[in-house]
């Protein structure tokens, strides 16, 4: 507590914000009382990273879990065989004081408008974030794996952590760096450069002007969950026309030539309220209030999604051009939640000025835990990771837990499941055969992926040639909205057969288009269809991974990063002449991706999946009784 006070005083002194002292003292007293009264219900959103990495949600089975990541930390310690005492440092990816400063200033700037939200959120902030140092140490020590002295606990700037996650594991010796998200401490977009072990941030756009927040505001307005539904809105955009583009530009956002922008805060509520948008926003968009999540999606919703996607792409492209001018680098690295917008990423690669692009696969806040850990190691004099022929430093992002044959068999026996064991050769052939007969396969292999995408170790697979696969997967496996597209995983060397993309995309973060010679002519009847009905049209010979605008979110599969997934695709190619499969994450709507064999069995039995493959063990749904 004393050290915290010392830190605060130092911060107030340096930043010349003497006026904050009485407020902070008052809130600290309040926070102290709350802690004494309630015990240990703290919720810092952090992740554990060592030589292993995983998100807490996968262990707790609670999607987007914001509790202290005890299970994820325990896994990382188990995997590396380290105790807390043996760790040189533990780092957190945010400077809580700076964020607190932003919150206070924002509330003061808008006062008295945000009073109800202030009353609700500030005590939580004091308790959870401002006193984070004490809490992290206490929680880590509660694991019973050793003690964590105060000097070993470090805090990084939020966007610096993102930038480090984007640059250090990249294959580049030097690169420009673009970080964009909702908000860190103050920054919402940062432009920087990395060279060797140095990462420097050159300029930033500050809260409340935020591209991430703008995107989330529309996500909210269209009836999807903020921080989860952004992907859905991106998938919805191709169904629409950018009919609201001008309206957004004229009223909501002022975009400068260099990509910097200002939002018109009259229309947004996130600074002071508990919603993202307000009644002025509704009035601007035809006087219609936010869509209820259960309401049917209209063509208007699709047009709005399309328009905000277009604005986003425009800003990202402008920022990228500015970054090129400022750094003159050949390479670009990206991170932050907005870097998960793979449609924008695809355009950056095709239309942007950089020769090479690398995006951190865990581009969201989970990846910044990894970033801050890497930043600390370099700060303390460690050299960059040597790639030794690897594609990048992320090892394909297969950094999570894996399970031995014994674990798998114990789980299956407990459930009385009927299963078969196959040798590798037989396994790949049989599974490829099943896929070619339109079977849906749960594919569980090796270490779990770190980051939001399933990349062939916790995946559900299907035949991309099947015209019914897309609706079947949405309706009977994933139980999700029928408009949502599916992504292909393609053998790296066969990518040019299907897509226009010219560089590898191992992390499924780039969108490109199906080659024109694979597209099918639309019939007159097809052309008359509107909205979601357009999904029923067969647009190519790989219809289940061809979105309505012929785009596809591509994962290239490489022999060196995932040999087993590669072999399966190869077997499928040998049997069918097609070197790609539908790859979607192994989970159902609103649940985290499966982690253990138990999770996989449950998901397999709870859906209409035909086959479950756990390592070399195969379960056939029809045989379960």
């Amino acid at each position: 507590m004393i050290s915290l006070l010392r830190q605060i005083l130092k911060y107030v002194w340096v930043s010349k914000k003497i006026w904050m002292i009485p407020i902070i003292l008052l809130l600290l007293t309040l926070g102290g009382i709350l802690i004494l009264a309630e015990g240990t219900a703290f919720a810092p959103f952090i992740y554990a990273i060592f030589l292993a990495a995983a998100q807490e949600e996968r262990f707790s089975r609670n999607k987007g879990d914001s509790n202290f990541p005890s299970k994820a930390i325990a896994f990382c310690l188990d995997k590396t065989g380290l105790s807390v005492d043996e760790l040189d440092f533990v780092a957190f990816y945010d400077k809580p004081l700076l964020t607190f400063d932003r919150l206070l200033e924002t509330y003061l700037a808008f006062a008295p408008r945000g009073l109800p939200s202030f009353r609700k959120s500030i005590p939580i902030w004091v308790k959870e974030k401002l006193l984070l140092q004490t809490l992290i140490r206490k929680q880590i020590e509660n694991l019973g794996r050793g003690t964590l002295p105060e000097k070993k606990l470090l805090f990084g700037f939020h966007h610096h952590s993102h930038a480090a996650a984007a640059f250090y594991p990249s294959p580049f010796e030097s690169a420009a760096i673009l970080v964009m998200d909702g908000v860190g401490e103050w920054a919402t977009a940062s432009l920087g450069r990395g060279a060797g072990t140095e990462v420097t941030l050159l300029s930033e756009i500050r809260f409340p002007h935020s591209l991430g927040m703008l995107y989330s505001a529309f996500t909210y307005y269209l009836g999807f969950k903020v921080n989860e539904g952004e992907y859905k809105m991106m998938g919805l955009a191709p169904y629409g026309e950018p009919k609201y583009l001008q309206k957004i530009r004229d009223n909501l956002i002022d975009i400068k030539e260099d990509g910097s922008f200002r939002l018109n805060m009259k229309y947004f509520n996130y600074c002071t309220g508990l919603t993202m948008t307000n009644q002025y926003f509704d009035e601007l968009f035809d006087g219609i209030p936010p869509r209820k999540s259960s309401a049917r999606l209209s063509q208007r919703d699709m047009n709005i999604a399309c328009s905000v996607q277009a604005v986003t792409e425009d800003i990202v492209l402008r920022l990228v051009r500015t970054l090129k001018k400022e750094t003159n680098e050949r390479n670009l690295c990206m991170a932050g939640g907005v870097a998960l917008n793979c449609v924008a990423n695809g355009r950056v690669l095709r239309e942007g000025p950089f020769a090479n692009l690398w995006i951190q696969p865990a581009a969201g806040d989970s990846g910044s835990a990894l970033g801050v850990a890497l930043a600390v190691t370099h700060l303390k004099g460690q050299p960059r990771i040597k790639l030794n022929g690897l594609r990048d430093g992320m090892k394909g992002t297969y950094l999570g837990p894996d399970f031995a044959v014994n674990d798998i068999e114990a789980t299956l026996s407990r459930h009385g499941a009927v299963y078969h064991e196959f040798s590798d050769d037989e396994l790949f052939d049989r599974v490829a055969q099943a896929l070619a007969s339109e079977n849906v396969v749960g594919w569980f292999q090796g270490r779990m992926e770190f980051g939001p995408r399933a990349l062939g170790n916790r995946s559900i697979l299907g035949d991309a040639r099947s015209s019914r696969m897309q609706s079947m997967l949405n309706m009977k496996i994933k139980y999700r909205e029928s408009f949502r597209p599916f992504a292909p995983a393609v053998l790296d060397e066969r990518m040019a057969d299907y897509f226009g993309l010219e560089s590898a995309s191992p992390y499924m973060l780039l969108v490109d288009f199906v080659r024109p010679d694979r597209r099918l002519e639309l019939t007159a009847e097809d052309s008359g269809l509107e909205g979601i009905d357009r999904l029923q049209i067969n647009r190519s010979d790989i219809p289940s991974v061809t979105h309505v605008d012929y785009s596809a979110r591509i994962q290239t599969v490489h022999k060196d990063t995932n040999p087993r997934f590669y072999r399966l695709l190869k077997s499928f190619y040998e049997q069918t002449g097609y070197g790609l499969l539908v790859n979607t994450s192994f989970n159902i709507r609103d649940e985290p991706i499966v982690c253990t064999p138990e999770d996989a069995y449950r998901c397999f039995m709870g859906t209409e999946m035909d086959l479950l493959v756990l390592g070399n063990t195969v379960l056939v749904k029809e045989e379960q009784a």
Binding site: K292, S294, M475, K476, Y479, R589, M605
Partner: protein
């Protein structure tokens, strides 16, 4: 229309258990007597003509649900939406988890079939039966549209089930027996279809917690449907709200029951008490995560206070409580 597992459980109406049925294009055919029981509007029907006690009342209830298929599908056209809704319902979700995998389930009074469709997850096979053809038509329409293969439906009378004895792993009747002329009599019939060690789940209106609904029923004509909590908070669709109001406040017949009463039904029918939903207060049922776990039934006092406490929670949503038991060997 029926999976083999479900077809094997059916018999001809009024016949012995050694008869079996097969599907033909015209209807279900008894392989022993060759009598064909035709489909009505695509719905398999094994309904015997109503007779005897309660015929008039049964006719009235049937015709009520023919006019008001319940709970209806608005907003749940896609199976994914139905599953998401089921997963977010604490009762439906814990029921599915407790049932587990690969089971054969009978739902007596399935209405438009939502619960039956949901419970066919986990590789379970479900037969939903109901009197209302219009409700069953909607259930089958959803099944066909979503290509579901393990949920199936037939029109039957709960007092004359065309189902073999000891055939099902789980028998459920959730909010139905209180609309029959003899709830205990109906219970006797349905538990016969349960195999030894099988699980029965019976959901009924509670004698105490239903009182506010009765009061609202007297006021609703004057104050309008917004006095109902479910209409205000849960239902967005106007048609669905209308069906809910009719089911709750304008039903031609309903009876109210207590936990103790159901316990006496269990005793009479050789059923061992397992659990109650919502749980009986101050028993291990409160901590039990498994709906089918064997828990303490508490004493009369605890059961009474539990039911009075329901005035503060389940009362606003229809006051339905479920008691779960296991059939003794």
């Amino acid at each position: 229309m029926f999976s083999n597992k479900i077809l094997a459980c059916l018999k001809a109406p009024g016949q012995d258990d050694d008869t079996s049925m097969e599907m033909t294009t015209e209807g279900l055919r008894c392989t022993e007597t060759n009598i064909v029981y035709p489909y009505f509007d695509g719905v398999p029907s094994l309904l015997t003509p109503l007779s005897g006690d309660g015929r008039d009342l049964t006719e009235r209830v049937k015709s009520f649900y023919e006019q008001n298929p319940f709970p209806n599908y608005e907003g749940l056209e896609e199976y994914g939406d139905l599953v998401t809704k089921g997963n977010s319902s604490p009762f439906a979700n814990s029921l599915l988890r407790a049932i587990g995998y690969n089971k054969v389930i009978l739902e007596c009074g399935c209405g438009t079939g939502q619960l039956s469709h949901y419970l066919q997850l986990n590789n379970n096979h479900v037969l939903g039966i109901d009197m209302s053809l219009n409700s069953l038509e909607l259930a089958i329409e959803h099944k066909k549209r979503n290509e579901l293969v393990r949920s199936s439906f037939a029109q039957m009378n709960i007092f004359d089930l065309a189902i073999k004895d000891d055939a099902f792993d789980v028998v459920i009747s959730h909010g139905v027996l209180h609309h029959t002329f003899d709830a205990l009599g109906a219970f006797r019939h349905i538990v016969k279809k349960l195999r030894p060690e099988g699980i029965v789940v019976v959901g009924l209106y509670n004698r105490y917690a239903r009182i506010p609904t009765w009061v609202r029923g007297k006021l609703i004509k004057f104050l309008g449907p917004r006095i109902d909590y479910v209409v205000r908070n849960r239902i967005q669709d106007v048609r669905k709200a209308d069906v809910w109001i009719k089911d709750q406040y304008f039903n031609p017949h309903e009876t109210w029951h207590t936990i103790d009463e159901v316990l006496s039904w269990f005793d009479e029918n050789n059923i061992q008490y397992l659990n109650c939903y919502p749980p009986i207060l101050e028993t291990d049922g409160e901590d039990s995560e498994d709906l089918f776990a064997s828990t303490n039934q508490g004493d009369k006092y605890k059961r009474l206070t539990t039911q009075i406490s329901w005035l503060a929670n389940i009362s606003r949503e229809g006051a339905l409580f479920d008691v779960i038991g296991r059939k003794a060997v």
